[in-house]
Structures are given as C-alpha cells and as structure tokens.
C-alpha cells in the first residue's frame, strides 16, 4: 500500500488515520540494532568519560567522535556514493535520541553530523564532497556551522561577515566574527555564512588551517560545558572560489534548510535526554525514604512520574511521526532525479512547520521533565553529585539554539499563513466553514466502540477551534498580523498542542492491538493524561488569542467556541495517573 503523502500542515484540515503515522514500535530489526549499538557506545565509552568531557578535555571528545566514525554513526545521512549509508530519517532520529544520554557529547555529535556535515551533503559539488566528505564521515575532521554573529543571532541574515572576490577571481577574502560556534575549537572545517559585496548571503567551506582563521576562547557556559563553544574569527581569509558552497546569494537556503533538520533532530535528542532524566528520577524516588516510606509511594511524586511519562510519550510519538512524514515524501523522489537534493530539500522544507513544532514542543517537554526530576531529588537535586543538577543546566540551551523557541513559534503561524496565501492549503475556505458551523448546534455523540473516541472528537474540535480563532485574527489584521506577535505565539501553542496530542493518540491507537493488557492500560492512561493537560493548555492559548485580538460580539462568539471545542471529559484521570505512575515505578524508567 502506497503511503498517503501528507502536505506540510495538512493535519490541521484533515483527520489522518492511525495507519498513516509511523511509530517507534514500527522499527525494523536493523533500526533497533542501530539504536542498540548507539546505546552501547554511549554506555561503555562516553559515560565513563563524562567527567573528563565536562571538564573540557576536548581531545577526548574528538577521540570519541572518531569512534562514532568507526561505528558508522557519522554516515547515517551521507549518500552511499560517498561512503555513507543514506538511512532514513527515522533511523537518524533514533541515533540522535540514543546518543543524547551522553550529555555534552551529544551536542558535539549533533553539530558535527548535523549542521556541520549536512550543508556539504546537500549543497556540495561532486568535487567538494570528494574532497571533504570522507574526512567528515570518518571523524578524521570535525565540522562546525558558523551562522550566528555577535550582532546577529535570530536575525541571522543580518550577518556582517563579508566576502570579497579577489581581482584575479581565484578566491574570496573573508572577514568577520562568528559567535557561539559549537565545536569551534575542535573543528577542521567550518561552514561559514558571509555576504558577498555586503549583499549576497553565501556559504563557504573554510578550513581551519587557512591563513587568517582563528578561534576565540571557550565560552563559560551554564550547561553542556563539555561541548566547545567559541568565536571563529576571520581575518582576510583567502577562500578559493572552489569552496563556495551552493550558489552566491543562496546561502539563506542552506542556512534554513539545514536548520529544519537540526530542529527536528533536536526534538529527537531531547526526547532521549528526557528518558534518561526520568529514569534517574524514578530510581531515586523508589530508594529515597521519608516518613518511613519511599517517596515514590506518595501521590505528589507519582503525579510527577505520570506526567513526565505522558509528556515523553507524546514527544516521542511526535518525533517519529514527523520522521515518517518526511521519509514517506523523500521516498517518492527517484534517486536518479538530476537535481535530487533540490527535490530532497523541498521535501523537507514542506514540513518546516512541523520541524518547528518538534523543536518547541520537545525542548519544553524536556524543560518540564528536568525540572520535575530536580524536584523529586529534593535538596540532592541541587547538588552536583547527583545527575539531576546537570540535566537541569544542560536542558536550558535547547530552548535557545537552532532558532529560539520564540522564533520557532512565530514560524508556525507564519508558515501556515504563507502557505495559505500561496493556495497550498485551503486554510481560508476551511476557516470560513468552521466559522459557519459555529451557528449550528453540535450533536456529537461519542461512539465508544472506537478507541480514543473522546480524544479524537476533541482533536477534531480543536482543529475547528484553531481555524475559527486563526481565521478571525487573519481577517482582522490581514497582512499586519505578522506584527501581532502575542497573537501569533498563542496560535502557535494551539497548533503545537494539537499536533502533539494527535501524534500520541494515533500512535496509541495503532499499537494497542499489539500490546499486553498491562501495557495497553498504561498507554491508554498516558494518552488520557497527556490529552487532559494539553487540552487545558490549548484552551488557555485559544482564549488568550481571542482576548488579544477581538472584542464585543466576535469575542463572545470566539469564547463560546473555546468552551464548545475544548470540552474533554477526563473521568478517571486520577486512576489513570496512578496507573501510569505504577508502570514507571515498576519499570524504573520510561515504560514504553
């Protein structure tokens, strides 16, 4: 059966079926083995070196990156003709998830294999790939990505770094300072973004040994201390024209497309981190005794365990669903296509909104989990001897890099409206329909024979609600809506929560028949717990958007819509939480 290829954002106006989502339970034996190899590598080789790495023994980091090279962990996304494996995104995400247990090291790994290597893979010429790719997939050379500058972070295209063609046309002269470069001090190859003639944003492959390249001191950071972050300073660096990556003036394409994958991968990585954190949290909870009993026996702690498991379940469901969406689309592009990587990039760009959703949802999920794990540890959570403290510090950066969560939130309705204006998805028509339907009373009766009938009804209601609220805001502000950031952020929260809830529900529905009775109950509980919380957040965001953007009768109508569409009868919520907590306690880790 050929998979239905969903358009980006299409989930908001359709109801995908359970068999149309990829779930981690669908992994092949090979994918599971790749996960196991990654896990063993982290447990046997990285974790024992963690202290050293945290104290910035970067030689160790490089050595371990080379081990990644030997194991093949750096060739997942690299084409076969350049010695890579060209595995699907689901596998790539699984490796990112499994490596995340290594803390700082996973940041070095992600920067090297992701934003460091991918620009070359996607945009390099045959000759450039032949020159560099082997070195990067073996780990002989380490890669870094230099987009940010001291005065341009979120506003990446405002870069000041300049590139000037030499009189003889043989090379560009690069000048400027790049800020916060991950792997800055250990990298051999930098993908540097600079403006040709102060105007044409362009990417260059800059070797560390080129004259004029220097690296600033290590930044003193709050977390991920074992990853190198430095300035990269370019002082009249002569970069041969053969090292221009992609086309002159098309650097923004490279920068942003690579970030799509980076954001998505960050989602996978933080999902892995959250599993590690929960595992430490519950292990502590079953050991620590107060008042003559384990703290895991207290409802207050159990609720935390349940909420964390539910959030991670949703996050995991979301990440692999997105992997499936992208893989299905990329699989339709014949390898012989002349401009394969152009089509490939378009395939990924299609899901730019979903990638932003993954980035925001998953990083905030980890923030919640890390915070709860500190809390479970009480005072010991504040003490460096226990792992909770590091999770808490390391987590923070995920909401900042790869585009801050504000930038990513803005991108969500932004992408949506742009696509609607281009006529790629019939958002306007659907919004009108949703508005009309407000005047007709609803007679929904739940068909209890369908699994998760209540959750599905809720989801279809929330999509209506989004269309109503976003539709009326769009109508009111028209193009000026881009300046109403508060409204856009609230709308983004609705979309994020809907996508997460739907991913969790569809995954659960798909896997239920394969599960034991005990697992079935736990998964069902996870879905209900998650949907309850996410629906509350969605309701609050929708209400906020309504109050922000409307008044009078329209406001009343919108508030009515919020009431109508966010109804979710969560009877048995407490039992669900306790049951889920028991599953976590029994497994002493994330139970799914």
């Amino acid at each position: 059966m050929a998979a239905r290829i969903f358009k980006g954002a299409e989930f908001l106006i359709t109801e995908p079926g359970k068999d149309e989502v990829f779930v981690p339970e669908d992994f092949s034996d090979e994918q599971r083995q790749i996960g196991a190899t990654t896990e063993q590598f982290v447990t046997n080789e990285v974790i024992p070196a963690r202290e050293e790495i945290e104290h910035q023994n970067f030689e160790k980091v490089v050595q371990l990156l080379r081990r990644c090279g030997e194991l093949g962990l750096l060739m997942i996304d690299v084409p076969e003709e350049y010695g890579g494996l060209e595995l699907d995104k689901a596998t790539s995400m699984l490796a990112a998830e499994k490596i995340s247990g290594s803390g700082s090291f996973s940041v070095a790994y992600a920067a090297h294999s992701g934003i460091g290597t991918l620009p070359l893979v996607y945009y390099g010429t045959e000759e450039q790939k032949a020159r560099y790719l082997d070195k990067l997939t073996s780990g002989e050379w380490i890669a870094a990505y230099c987009l940010t500058e001291p005065d341009s972070g979120s506003d990446a295209l405002g870069a000041k770094a300049s590139a000037t063609l030499s009189a003889d046309g043989s090379h560009y002269l690069l000048n400027g300072t790049k800020q916060f470069t991950t792997n800055g001090s250990i990298a051999d190859l930098y993908t540097v973004f600079a403006k040709v003639d102060k105007e044409y944003f362009t990417a260059f492959l800059v070797e560390r040994t080129m004259e004029g390249v220097s690296v600033g001191p290590e930044e003193k950071k709050m977390g991920i201390k074992g990853s190198s972050t430095t300035q990269v300073i370019l002082d009249d660096v002569k970069v041969p024209v053969a090292n221009v990556l992609g086309e002159i003036g098309k650097g923004h394409k490279i920068a942003f497309n690579v970030l799509n994958i980076g954001r998505f991968k960050l989602g996978a990585a933080v999902t892995g981190s959250a599993k590690f954190a929960l595992s430490d949290g519950v292990k502590y909870a079953v050991l620590r005794k107060q008042f003559g009993r384990t703290i895991a026996s207290f409802g207050a702690i159990q609720e935390k365990l349940a909420d964390m498991a539910a959030e991670i379940f949703a996050s995991e469901s979301l990440v692999y669903r997105l992997a499936g969406l992208i893989d299905n689309r990329l699989a339709t592009i014949p390898k012989e296509t002349p401009n394969y990587y152009d089509a490939y990039q378009k395939g990924i760009e299609e899901y730019a909104m979903e990638c932003a959703i993954a980035k925001v949802f998953c990083s905030e999920m980890l923030a919640f989990v890390a915070d709860q794990v500190v809390q479970i540890h009480g005072g010991y959570g504040f003490i460096q001897e226990y792992p909770a403290e590091r999770y808490y510090r390391d987590e923070r950066i995920n909401r900042i890099f790869e585009g801050t969560n504000e930038i990513n939130r803005l991108l969500i309705p932004g992408t949506l409206l742009t696509r609607a204006l281009k006529g790629e998805i019939p958002l306007q028509r659907e919004a009108m329909r949703a508005l009309d339907s407000l005047t007709t009373p609803s007679f929904e009766e739940l068909d209890d024979s369908i699994p998760f009938a209540a959750e599905k009804a809720l989801l279809s209601g929330l999509k209506q609600l989004f269309l109503v609220v976003a539709g009326s805001a769009a109508q009111k502000y028209q193009a000026a809506i881009k300046d109403e950031q508060e409204v856009l952020m609230a709308l983004a929260d609705v979309v994020i929560n809907v996508f997460a809830m739907e991913s969790a529900v569809l995954r659960a529905e798909k896997i239920l028949p394969r599960l034991s009775e005990a697992k079935r109950q736990a998964v069902t509980a996870a879905v209900r717990c998650f949907c309850f919380g996410a629906n509350e957040k969605t309701a609050s965001a929708a209400r906020k958007a309504a109050f922000y953007s409307e008044e009078g009768d329209t406001l009343t109508i919108l508030l009515g819509a919020v009431r109508r569409f966010t109804r979710y009868h969560a009877a048995g919520l407490l039992q669900d939480k306790r049951l889920l907590a028991q599953a976590v306690i029994e497994a002493e880790k994330y139970p799914f």
């Binding site: 034996d29 090979e30 083995q33 196991a36 194991l71 494996l85 034991s516 005990a518």
Partner: protein, 258 residues
Amino acid sequence: MKILVCVKQVPDMESRFRPDADGVWYAETDLAFRVNEYDEYAIEQAVLLKEQLGGEPEITLLCVGPDRVVEAIKKGLAMGADRAVHVRDQASHLKDPFQIASIIAAYAKGEGFDLIFTGMQSLDRGSSQVGVGIAEMLGYPCATTVVGFEYADGTVTVKRELEGGVKGTVRLKTPALVTCQLGLNQPRYPTLPNIMKAKKKEVSVIPVEQLLQQDARLVMAQFRAPAKKGGGVVLEGDVADQVDRLIGILKDKTAVLR
C-alpha cells in the same frame, strides 16, 4: 575452516518475570529479548579467529527458537558471522538441554565443522549442558568455561576457569567444541555498515521437526517465584538496649555465639 556458533536468545535479565499460563516456564509478555551474553563471547571469538586467519573461515550461526530469534540472528550476522541457520521451533522453551543439543548435533553432523563455539550457559535456563551435549553427540573433544583462546595449525589452546580462581590450560585437536565464559573477550557492537550488510546475508530456516529425534529426558515440573522470606526485624530504641536484644537473638536463633 568451517566454524559453527550456537546462540540463544534470552530475555533481558532485569525484567520482571512471571510464570506462564501452564506454570512451567516464564511468560514472554512484555519481555525484551537479546542475545545470550555468553553466546556473544562465542560469536566474538569466532569472528576474532576469522580475522586472525585472514578471513578464510566461514562462520555459520545457529539459533533454535521461535520467530522472534531472527533479531538475535541478525545481530550475530552483523557482528561478523557469514550465514545463519534458524531452526524454527515455536516451543523451544519446552525442550530439555538434551533435546536442544541433539537438534544442533543432528544439523552439524553432516556439515564437517572444524570448530564449534557455544556459550558456557544460557542466562535463562543455566543448564550448561547444551555445549557438552553437542560435543558428546558429535564425538568432538570439548573444553568448557573458556576464558582464553588461541588457535594454530589445527590445535586449539584454551584457558579454562576452574574452582577458586585457578586456571587450567587445555589443548584440543580440531574438530573441537569450546563453551565460552565471561572474560574471554569484549564482544564488539556491530557497526552501522555491518548491520546493513547483514540484511543481505543468507539465513536458512529449518523446521525443528526435521532435526528432532529425541524425547525429553527432563521435564520442567513447575516454574514459580520463590516463597517470600519473612520480613526482617527492625530494632529500635536505646542503643544499649538494642545491643542486648541483638545478642539475645544471635544466641537464640543462630549458631554464631555458641
């Protein structure tokens, strides 16, 4: 040279085990399975030998078990075995070690293996009988609990772990069988390219009925959790008083102070 490595797939030992419906083995519900740890030493040693001999030997991996064992077979292939035989048996857990050994011996008989590696024991049943059983049935010399292995010119020299930390050195002429113990080597984890290459390696499936010629000699009568031990006694109160009570208990209930 032809090498056979016998592997079994066993549950993750950190799982929570429950008796199955008949109460004669554990229920497989919600268990995660993996390659028996000792069998990983066996695979690794076979692959090391293959590497030592410049890649000449052909390594066949054999696994008896239900469909789920395919994952274990794939891992062995990814670690470096050349081909695999899956003796498909949906009820291998009900067979006794003698039957399992006889099944493997029946397969190996005509194949002329020069060396057979097995694990010292399986983590779930722990009988340590399958390896020696196969050797006996094939008429091969056998060394068990091997922690060191060398091969040269048709002679295998192994270090065996004996009681009380003593080690013994044993020489065997091939064809021979060794059972591998913890400490023999560090099993590699399969690299990603090898995991993908393993997909293309041959796995032949043989229904167990074709090889099974023996009746069981042992029957598992019952599988249950051990009875719960009585709860401990916690002494509380004044320390001097606690000491007196402890001495009293040691006198009355144990032989320590007699």
